[in-house]
Structures are given as C-alpha cells and as structure tokens.
C-alpha cells in the first residue's frame, strides 16, 4: 500500500474490456456481484477497435467498390472512385457506435469502470495507474480477479512497428490513403484478409509466406479457392520465404526475404507445385513497395501485469494456463480470451468470460463446448466448426462425408459467387454430425447452423429432413447432408 493511496474493494476485478472482459463484467453484474472493469485504452478491446469489426467494415467497403467496378457481365459499367480517408471515417463511426454501446451496457449492469493499467501487487490487490502525467494511481482489493488482457501483433526482427513504412494489422486499418504497393508478410487469415482489401482498392500486393501455402492450419481444399481468387485479383505469392530486413529506397522501401527452406520445418519435397516453388527459393528475394504489412500472428499480453506478484503462472509462450472453469493456478484468479490460450477468437473469449463470472457466482458453469466455430473473411469466405474428416478418423470414427458445390446452388449463381463448397463430416455409424467446413459465399454465416447441429447432437438425417427455404445458400447445408446419406437431389451421389 502506498502512502496516501486510495483503496477500493470489489468482488470481481476484470482487467481488460475486450469481448472476453466486458462480457465477464456484464455477466458478473447480472449475478449481483460488485464488479470493477479496468481498461487502459478503449472499451471493446482489439476486436471492436482494431480487429474484427474495423477489418470487416473495410472488407465490406472495398468489396463493394470492387464489385461495382467488375460487374460488366451483369450489365453494370462503373469505375468507382475510392476515398480511403472517408472510408476509414465511416469505419470509425461504426467502431464508435459499438464501443459506446459496450460502455453503456456495462454501466447499465452496475459495472464500475476504471481507466488505467492494472498490475498485481499481491494475490488480492491490484494497482491501477491512470494514464497521463499526474493522473495518479489507486489500489483495488479484490475477492476474485479475471485477467482478460488479450493479445498483440507479433513483431519480427528488423521490422519495428514504430517505423513509418512498417505496419501491423491495426496500423493498416487506420491508413488514410491507399498505398500504391504493399508487401504482406504472412499468409495467415489476417494477412490474406488485408491483402484482399488493399488489392480491391487498387494496391499492388505481394504476399510472402515461409510455409508452402496460404492459410496454414486449414485444409488444402478450403485454401485453394481463396488462393485462386487472390491471384485473380493480381496478388503475387512467394512461398518458402521469410522476411529478413527492409531499407529505404528513393521512392519507397525494399523488403528483403531469405529462403526459409533452411529454417526449421523447411518444406519436405512432396513434389507439389508449392514445394517446388519453395525449393527453388535459394536466392534472397528483393521486393520494392511503398509499405510492408507484417501479419505473422499474435502473442498474449501477459508481461505487463506483474502476474508473479499474485503467483499466477504462464507457459513458455506467455499464455496463462487455465482449467475448464477458466481458473488459473491461483484459485480465485481467472484468465479468459486470447491471454488464456488458443484459439485466439473473440467468441471463445466471450464464452470463457461468461463461464468465469458464473463460476465466481457459485454456479455450476464450465467450458464445455463440443465445437468451436472459426470464420475467415477472405474471398471466398471460410467457415469451419468441429472436426475435419482426418481428425474424426484419428479419433476412431468411421466417417460419412457429404459435399455440395456452390456451382450447383441456384442462389450462389445469382450472387455471382459460386466458388467453393459445403462439406459435412459425420459418424457413419449413428449419423451424428462431427464437423463441417465451408468455403464460399457467406460461409461465416452458414457455419452457425452446423455448430448448433453438433451441439445438439443432431444427425445427418435431422439436417437433411429440416426444410430449408429456397432459393438460399443455406439449402447447400441440407444438400451436403443428403449427399452424405447417399440421396442428394441436386448433385450426383458417389
């Protein structure tokens, strides 16, 4: 305790007001607990301010511009002019509306809001430093704490985000003019989403990726339509390279990339095109561009909290290990969201936030989901939930798989986007749906139905026998289930 310090007491101290933290705070408030929510920057966290929401706003806006200028086939002739600063202003308006909504919801649920940075002083006290000179600090004594500090973009050597031409995803979403050319380091979902945005706005985009394909972690047949479409947009790819340095040139920058084949996990010669490309990567690559965007993943924010003062342990990557009640190794301290481990997804954090609040209130809550959906907002979109075919088979299931291509969907054809498919993986024996993978128009929305099916223990027959409205994209889910049962109407049954 510092002399002259003000100490307040609270049942639950939530650190971080992202989609995990604010949900935990609101739920705890609903359960009649005294809750204090500390946020150092902006309500809504990365998701609302610098991640999911602003990126989706720009993906929609850039998509609209691109569509309008590329619809001659439909008889539409236009050459849209894009004012990026106005587009960003619109995006900021959306963000402001949502963040102020979060603040209002917190207050309406009796949550005490504190602005500042929290550090643990001991296992029942945190010190909150308020931003700015002379703003002071205070101590909060808590019965329970919930750590929800999220994650931040990983920096790679020689690419400091404070250097003006080097961007992380957050800075890229705040640009006020469209760069002529852009190198994107990393072909994961963030890199691919933003590469698409800038390509559609007229930027010459080059993507370098140290592995052999786009979207590592997703099955090749899901990634394929995404890569095909990106190439149609003019995006260039260099696989098997990792960015090593950059330097100023007269009219921009030059990014140097080294062959990654020598690095750990270099490509095994599997003979496909990508690995051949990677193996040919023996010479360093030099790419000229106006800016470079680094999107190689995110790391947990756990080193700013003085966790050791509270006795909370982290793993070697900085994540805070938790049990199925979101508890850390310290009984009354919980961790949720990105800081508590992968998958780093906002909806996973929100669910953990609800569980943590309910456990604190003494309810028999637990992290007990059957399937975690994930959505990638590339073109076409990807939506996944549950097990892939190979995962299900590894678990000992005999699988029944049904597929339906959007080429066979009337509604998909009328949208002008018919690349991709719906794939459903089920247990051949009892018909239980185990997982689904969708790549195609509105995949991020369509996947919800299959998440519900998995949670309810629905079978192929249940989904196939549920009447889906026509003409909709959702019919494709029903058709894929019918295909797995061997009686699809609009595709040939294999």
């Amino acid at each position: 305790m510092v002399v002259g310090d003000i100490a307040t007491g609270t049942d639950v101290l939530v650190i971080g007001a992202g989609p995990a933290g604010y949900v935990a705070a609101i739920r705890a408030g609903q359960l009649d607990l005294d809750v204090t929510l500390v946020e150092k920057e902006a309500y809504g966290g990365t998701c609302l301010n610098h991640g999911c929401i602003p990126s989706k706003a720009l993906i929609t806006a850039s998509g609209l511009a691109h569509e309008a200028g590329n619809a001659e086939e439909m008889g539409i002739h236009a050459d849209p002019a894009v004012d990026l600063s106005q587009m960003v202003n619109w995006k900021d308006g959306v963000v402001d509306q949502l963040t102020s909504g979060v603040e209002k919801l917190c207050k309406a649920n009796g949550v005490n809001l504190l602005e500042g940075t929290a550090r643990f002083a001991d296992e029942n006290t945190a010190r909150i430093s308020h931003g700015g000179e002379g703003q002071g600090s205070e101590s909060v004594e808590f019965e329970h704490a919930i750590v929800a500090t999220g994650s931040s973009p990983i920096e790679i050597p020689n690419f400091a985000y404070e250097d003006e031409p080097v961007l992380n995803s957050r800075q890229a979403l705040a640009l006020d003019s469209v760069p002529d050319s852009l190198v994107v380091v990393g072909a994961g979902y963030i890199g691919m989403e933003l590469a698409g945005v800038f390509a559609k706005l007229g930027t010459d985009v080059t993507v370098i990726e140290m592995l052999e394909d786009v979207l590592p972690g997703y099955e090749a047949d899901l990634a394929r339509p995404v890569k095909k479409h990106a190439k149609e947009l003019g995006i260039e790819f260099h696989f098997g390279y990792s960015a090593s340095e950059w330097h100023e040139e007269d009219d921009g920058i030059r990014v140097v990339a080294e062959p990654a084949a020598a690095a750990d996990g270099g490509s095994e010669a599997s003979g496909d095109a990508a690995s051949t490309e990677a193996e040919l990567a023996e010479e360093p690559l030099e790419l000229d561009a106006e800016k470079v965007l680094v999107a190689v993943g995110r790391a947990p924010v756990s080193d700013t909290l003085d966790l050791e003062s509270a006795g909370v342990e982290t793993d070697e990557r900085g994540f805070i290990p938790t049990d199925d009640r979101a508890r850390t190794n310290v009984e009354h301290i919980f961790a949720i969201g990105d800081v508590a481990g992968e998958p780093m997804l906002a909806h996973k954090g929100s669910m953990e936030g609800q569980v943590a609040a309910e456990v604190i209130a003494g309810e028999p809550s637990a992290i007990d989901y059957q399937a975690m959906p994930a959505a990638v907002f590339t073109e076409p979109e990807i939506g996944t939930v549950g097990l892939t075919q190979s995962e299900a088979e590894e678990m000992g299931f005999e699988t029944a798989v049904g597929k339906f291509p959007f080429q066979a969907s009337g509604r998909a054809l009328t949208t002008g986007h018919s690349d991709g498919f719906v794939k459903i993986v089920a247990d051949a024996d009892a018909g239980f749906i185990l997982g689904a993978q969708i790549v195609g128009p509105e995949a991020s929305e369509l996947i919800a139905e299959l998440g519900l099916a998995i949670e309810l223990g629905a079978t192929l027959e249940d989904v196939a026998a549920t009447i889906h409205a026509h003409p909709t994209l959702a019919e494709s889910v029903m058709e894929a289930a019918e295909n797995a049962l061997g009686h699809a109407i609009h595709t040939l049954n294999r």
Partner: protein, 512 residues
C-alpha cells in the same frame, strides 16, 4: 521405476480415512505435491499430495472406501523412466499463424477431458450438459436413450436419482450431499441407466422410443396389441436390415416398466410426493464422528443445564463504539470475544469448570491454561475450532483468530490440531433462532456455555432512587451444561452469575 504410495497419517493419530475422491486418473501426468486424492478423516477433509513427478500407474482404492493408514492406495511411474518423443512438430518453429486453428474444435482436444476415441465422445446438448453439472452426474458414464445413444435430460435425471455417480468435481462435491441410493446396495454403481433395461432407474423415467418403423414377428405384434403397447414406442438396441427390431422380451419388459411407472405415478399422486419415499445413505465420515462423540459425552458425564438471562444493553453500546476502531484494522468485531473474556474471568474464579475427569486413570486434571473452543456449524457438520491460550490475547486478536478458524472450519481446510485441546467450549445458538438449549459437553470438558440471540425485551429497571420502570433492554440467554460428577449445582449457578456480571458491565473486562 514404480513408486508405491501408502496412505499417510493425514492427521495426528488418525488410524484410517475415507477415500472421498480421486483427483487424478490412471495414466495421468502428475507433478510433485500435486493433490491426487481427497481423504476424509474423522475431523477434516485433507488433500493427499503426490510424492513424485511422473504418471499415475494404478489406482488401488475405490472412492468411498475406508483405507487404513499405511495401505498402498496408488502407484506411480517415476518421471525419467519412459522417454517417448513423438511428433516432430515441423511447424513449431514457423511464425505462428495458428491464431484461428480450426482444429481446436474439440473443447480442448489436447486436454485429458475428451477421450480420444469415438467411444469416448458424449453426444448431449448444452442444456443436458448443464443439468449433468448441476446434478453431479458424469456424462461419460450415462447410457443415452435418444437416437443413436444421444443423452437426454431424462437420462441425466435417472442417473442422478438412481445412481450415485460421483460428483463431477470437487467443487460440486463440497456442495452436494452424498447421493442417496434407492436400494441399500453398494454406493458405487458405475453406469447410468436408460430405457429401463438395467432396472435401477426410477420407473417413471422409462424413455419411450419414437420410431416410424419397427420390425417384429407377427406374434410379437400380437403380444404388444394385447398389452396395449405401441410397438414403435418399445425401446430396443437390436436391428435387422438397418431397422429397429423388437423381440417379445422387449415388449414384456417395456409393458412392465410402463405398469410400474403408472403405479409409481398413482402412489406419488396419493402421497403428494414426487421423489422416492425413503432414501438411505451410509452413516460415516464426519457425521459418524460427531455422533460417536455426542454419545460418549452424554452417556459418560451426567449433564445438568443451568439457564439464565443477562441484560447486555451496555455491552451492545460498547461493541458499537469499538466496532469502527476494529474495522480500521480490518477486523470484524463480534460479541464472541467479549463472551470469551467474560468466561475466562469466571473460569479463573471457578477453576473446577476448567478441569476435567480423566476416567481412565481416575484422576481430576486441573488445567492452568485456557483454550476456548468455539462451536461452528459447517456444511460438514459441527466443528469446534480452538483458540489456544485465549487468556493471553487481546480482544482484537481473539476476534481475528476466531474468525479465521471458523472460516477454515467452514471451508474444511482446518487442520486436526486446530480442532483439539480445548478446556471449555462456547456455542452460539442465536444465529438461527431459539432462546435456550441443553448443550452437550465437548467431553471430557466440564462445562459448555450456549449463548442465545440478543433480543430487545421489556425489563423492570430500578434507578438510583429505587424507582422502578419498564424499559426496552437488550437481553441475552445463557445455557450452561456441566459435568455433575465434578461440578455441583451451586457452583454452576455461581459461575454463570460471574459470567453475567462481566457481560452486564463490560468495563470490568478492562481489569482482566
């Protein structure tokens, strides 16, 4: 190498303990000092730590079993013996892009929770999972009666009522009373029941099937018709040509189950009950220990209880004055420290009340120290934490020590040593209601004082000039039980009067 682990002496002089629950499973990795089991001795629930880093090889005692100290309960493979390096993580060193790894779908496939075989997967909707957590039912041991074995709410209810599945975790274990069993058989039936097949489920929980199509022999159909049974509703696990197939036995069994269910419904309607009319649970653990102690006390020491009431209006005022002072030091000041101080002052004046009879050696033991037990009601039953050398401690120290001990007793983290060695016991009966009690001695102590709730009551008050008036005053009841072998009635009354004197005039405590 293999390390055998014997049940250690978890509390001084404890001969056996009940293995309440295992916190690990066979094959699970454990680290040194990680709790592996919960053992209940006659006084407290104790966690038993692992002695090594390694993996659990074999679990040798059942949950619920009474294990003598020194018996091997678990064996470990000590770390360093097996070195199995699997999976060269080719992508481990790559720039981590796995932010949205879709293969995390399994609710943490890498955790031990989900069994990694298709048999280990449980199909049940979220509301059923929640119900299972509420009821302390382990879903993996429940047979589902829904399509393809999907678990329904009814299956979980049946498992909760008909079986004693262990509580899913320690947290619910603490809150949930021992699951009663309907029959007096073993309390560790493993699997849940469904479809009435195992016969232990409550008959009203027979889940009907709901099929469109059923294969059955004509004779079976005839039998169903005679019994008034819809053949499509008869549960079956048999199939012919991929269709459900019903045998005559299945029809009979279902008809009987329906009959039982109807009878049970009629009986329930008649008695207004919905649950079983009678349940039984083993009489053991903390409850049994309390019972043994009560019985021994009551049948060894002839009890006499002396009742009186005391005007504590001044004490109430004094405490009100001192409460904020104590709060500044973070201490919640209750009446108990005042009562303890008053009792100690009286004990010093009447030392017999602090003595005890050593029945074995036929001696009276006079004790010149004052360890005061404070009885506390906990979820696990009555416990008596002890404040040692209470006469050497100030009011605030008594207060904070006692609050801490009572808290530990309620959380069952109190050590057996902290529950032993009292010379006199105080029990507060005012928390819930009532005026007087006949407390049973905390044998072999000679006295126990029960204090009631402080209530406002009309009292005749005489002023300095001898004028009488009726005034509202704060009044507390006292019930002192004592061992009549050692203490005479007059001494009991005098002791009580002394306690009352201090409680009526709390300033006298300053002289103590």
């Amino acid at each position: 190498m293999v390390r055998e682990f014997k049940l250690p002496d978890v509390g001084e002089g404890v001969a056996e303990g009940e293995l309440v629950s295992w916190l690990v499973e066979e094959g699970e990795e454990v680290s040194e000092d990680q709790p592996v089991a919960e053992v209940e001795t006659d006084k407290a629930l104790v966690e038993v730590p692992s002695p090594v880093n390694g993996t659990v090889r074999e679990i040798l005692a059942e949950e619920g079993e009474m294990v003598p100290v020194g018996n091997v309960i678990i064996t470990f493979n000590v770390e360093g013996e097996e070195a199995e390096e699997t999976e060269s993580q080719a992508e481990q060193a790559s720039e981590p892009e796995g932010v949205d790894e879709p293969d995390e779908a399994e609710g943490g496939v890498d955790e031990t929770e989900e069994v990694s075989t298709s048999e280990g997967r449980v199909f049940a909707p979220p509301r059923v999972r929640k119900l299972a957590r509420e009821e302390g039912v382990d879903l993996s041991s429940v047979q589902g009666s829904g399509p393809g074995g999907r678990i329904t709410e009814g299956d979980v209810q049946a498992a909760a009522e008909g079986d004693s599945s262990e509580p899913a975790d320690a947290e619910t274990a603490e809150a949930a009373p021992a699951e009663p069993t309907e029959d007096t058989g073993g309390a560790d039936a493993a699997a849940g029941t469904a479809g009435g097949a195992a016969g232990t489920a409550a008959p009203s929980s027979v889940e009907s099937a709901d099929r469109e199509k059923t294969l059955a022999a004509p004779a079976t159909r005839q039998l169903a018709k005679e019994q008034g049974i819809d053949i499509d509703a008869v549960p079956t696990t048999e199939e012919r040509d991929g269709e459900a197939f019903v045998t005559p036995e299945a029809v009979t069994e279902y008809a009987e189950a329906q009959q039982r269910a109807q009878e049970a419904d009629v009986a329930a309607a008649a008695t207004g009950e919905t649950g079983p009319r009678e349940t039984r649970e083993p009489f053991k653990g903390v409850r049994k220990t309390i019972a043994d102690a009560m019985q021994r006390s009551k049948y060894t020491a002839p009890h006499v209880t002396h009742h009186d009431e005391v005007d504590v209006t001044k004490l109430v005022e004094t405490r009100e004055d001192l409460k904020p002072v104590a709060e500044e030091q973070g201490i919640r000041l209750t009446y108990m420290p005042f009562i303890m101080k008053a009792v100690i002052a009286a004990l010093k004046e009447y030392p017999e009340m602090n003595a005890m009879i050593d029945d074995e050696n036929e001696e009276i033991v006079h004790r010149n120290y004052y360890n005061i037990g404070v009885a506390a009601a906990t979820d696990a039953g009555l416990m008596v934490p002890v404040v040692d050398d209470a006469d050497h401690k100030g009011m605030l120290q008594l207060s904070s020590e006692m609050n801490e001990l009572v808290q530990k007793a309620r959380e069952r983290t109190i050590s057996p040593d902290e529950l032993r060695g009292s010379t006199f016991t105080i029990t507060n009966i005012g928390g819930i209601g009532g005026e007087y009690a006949t407390p049973i001695l905390n044998y072999p102590e000679a006295g126990i004082l029960a204090v009631g709730e402080i209530k406002r009551k009309p009292r005749v008050v005489t002023d300095a000039d001898g004028n009488e008036s009726i005034e509202p005053r704060s009044v507390m009841t006292l019930s002192l039980s004592f061992d009549h072998r050692l203490i005479d009635g007059a001494e009991g009354a005098a002791f009580t009067n002394k306690v009352m004197e201090y409680l009526e005039n709390p300033e006298l405590l300053l002289l103590e």
